[in-house]
Amino acid sequence: MLTSNEQLRYSRQTMLKHIGENGQLKLRNASVLIVGMGGLGNPVAMYLNAAGVGRIMIADGDNIEITNLQRQVLFGESDLTQNKADCAAEKLNKNNSDTQIEVIDEMLDEELGQFYIPQVDVVVDCSDNIETRYLVNSLCVDHKKPFVVGAATGFDGQQLVVDPRKDNAACYQCFFPISEKAPANNCQTVGILGPVLAIIAGLQALQTIKLLTGIDVKYNQLNVYDGFYNQWQQFNISKQVDCPICQNN
């Protein structure tokens, strides 16, 4: 049961018939791993923490730099040079004492992923590089953990849910196979506007809350956002029988 304080605190979301007190209890009992505590990870963590997700693990080995402050809204001038996961945990704890924040102050690698991913209900990919995304995708498929992907540069964003619990669910590598040449652009090379990250991160947080509370989430759908022309496009994707990640699962 929720405490009277929790009933009041979360009342604006528990009054939604698809959430209710039962949904709030599911959030309280849930655990999430957020990979990357930059421009996407900041708002994802803030929303999940505010919504009362019981255990939030955040992984990032980077330190805060002045060029981060334009978009990484948890951090301020006095936080420069601190580890991002450490600093974020401190702020998130101040915002909600109900939740437990666990810091992984390193870049997620295979060993850390193998240890942490089996412990959580949902993994949220807020990383800034394709190698980490392929790694997390592969580990999530192996461990049958739902995986909420988000990415943004410039005015553009992509978001999708990989749900390996479903037999027909495509993984990230089903439609973006590993290639000879790595993608050339990232936030450092082409720039990024903060609100584009907020839009993609908001969708990631929403999909995560839906997954945790048992609301149906569309998988096999790539959502593509064009913030310059203010357009969304949805693409239907499908599991590939020859995908090296999916074929053994």
């Binding site: 421009g39 590089n129 394709i130 995304r133 990415a151 993608p183 082409v190 693409f235």
Partner: protein, 76 residues
């Protein structure tokens, strides 16, 4: 034949399709993507539905089809 690729009209050159009655996705990608881009990871959707790489050459196009070539966005 005219198709749309990433929102832009593309007239398929006749020498690409002269020996066939219809162009396929391989023809269009050869015309649209640079050789460097062809070595990168990308996904192709025809009228919003993803087409797997193994089906590019057997996927025939019709006039007015809408093709999207998507590259993975990396950044967060």
């Amino acid at each position: 034949m005219k198709v749309h690729i990433n929102g832009e009209a593309l007239i398929l050159q006749s020498n690409d399709i002269s020996k066939k009655s219809k162009a396929n996705l391989t023809d269009v990608l050869a015309q649209y993507l640079t050789s460097r881009q062809q070595k990168m990871s990308f996904a192709v959707a025809l009228n919003s539905d993803f087409v797997s790489k193994s089906q590019y050459s057997s996927t025939l196009l019709n006039d007015g089809d809408s093709i999207d070539v998507l590259f993975p966005i990396v950044g967060g």
